[in-house]
Symmetry: C2
Subunit: 207 residues, 2 copies
């Protein structure tokens, strides 16, 4: 590098820190990890939560199948190994957003406790908020907005199991999630408010 | 889901858009992709650029070896396939940050044109700014702050090539980078200002 010219500001004073970014945004970076069956309501709640956060001028970003499966994780299939790698990568990206000071909201079934716990273990304390979006298989199957349960049942009946969570693959509920949403008695809006209240109480919505 | 209660705000009005996020942040999401030899000055320039952006209250985030190689890409080695996958994943993450409205600054050697061009091709027009941080191998090798060139030369002399860029692996310079930094005549601070001016002129620093 050529010699630095004299300026009024010392740009070599150090790198921009996470604290600097959080002060700029007026919030703390955190990962809100939604887990639950297909059709449990994860995405609906995530979308409303994101709207509520924007309304409070908070910077949130949702990671979901739409922007992850067809991009970062498009080279992963549905083997046990690939499913674990899928969740690992999502966790790593959520951590980068968290480090950037953003409120990262992930919305994936993430059925295996082991995979979710690995993400939690790699996060700093208080930076991984597990939200268990609870619906029974019966309820989720009754909702079935995309006909996925119907398809999975048909495949199973034809002897071609898909490994569909809740039908022929297990969903392992979290033992100690930070937040439990009982979707059979709570609306999506109330659920989002419940998460927002947690964030507010935990001082995540201030720098 | 239980029935929605009446509220003054319609939370189901739609999802938060990229435009919403950009308005909140007062900037446009973009990927600033720094490429160049080891010791060319990429990271130094990236750090200063990030400071300058913060000074203008802009939200930037740097992706580099420190936060990517040991996290998202820790299961990748240095085979040709893994090097390509390394750059692909970094590109996908930078695109997520760009979509989130953040100014993503990537700082990786990224020696192969094919890999960088694949990232560019997957980005929307104007959202991938390639910055060629130009230094000759001789200059980079003379700087060698981490002794990496020395190590690579020694390995090569011992008949154990490392595939080190510039020594026993090629660096393919960009054909048409948006920005060229001539580090042998421009200081890191001037280089950062050059990139900042490009962002300003391109209207990235306003929503």
């Amino acid at each position: 590098m050529a010699e630095q010219k004299a300026t009024n500001i010392t740009w070599h004073g150090g790198t921009v820190t996470r604290d600097d970014r959080e002060k700029l945004l007026g919030q703390k970076g955190v990962t809100v990890w939604m887990t639950g069956l297909s059709a449990s309501g994860k995405s609906t709640i995530a979308v409303i939560l994101e709207q509520m956060l924007l309304h409070q001028k908070k910077h949130a970003y949702r990671l979901d199948g739409d922007n992850v499966r067809h991009g970062l994780n498009k080279n992963l299939g549905f083997s046990a190994e690939d499913r674990a790698e899928n969740i690992r990568r999502i966790g790593e990206v959520a951590k980068l957003f968290t480090d950037a000071g953003v409120i990262a909201i992930t919305s994936f079934i993430s059925p295996y406790k082991k995979d979710r716990d690995a993400v939690r273990a790699s996060c700093k304390p208080g930076e991984f908020i597990e939200v268990y979006v609870n619906a029974s298989v019966a309820t989720a199957e009754q909702r079935d907005p995309k006909g996925l349960y119907k398809k999975a049942r048909a495949a199973l009946a034809a002897g071609k199991g898909m490994g569909f969570t809740g039908i022929d693959d297990p969903y392992e509920a979290p033992d100690k999630p930070e937040i439990v949403i009982e979707t059979e008695s709570v609306s999506a809006e109330e659920a989002a408010k419940q998460i927002l209240a947690y964030l507010d109480k935990g001082d995540y919505l201030a720098a």
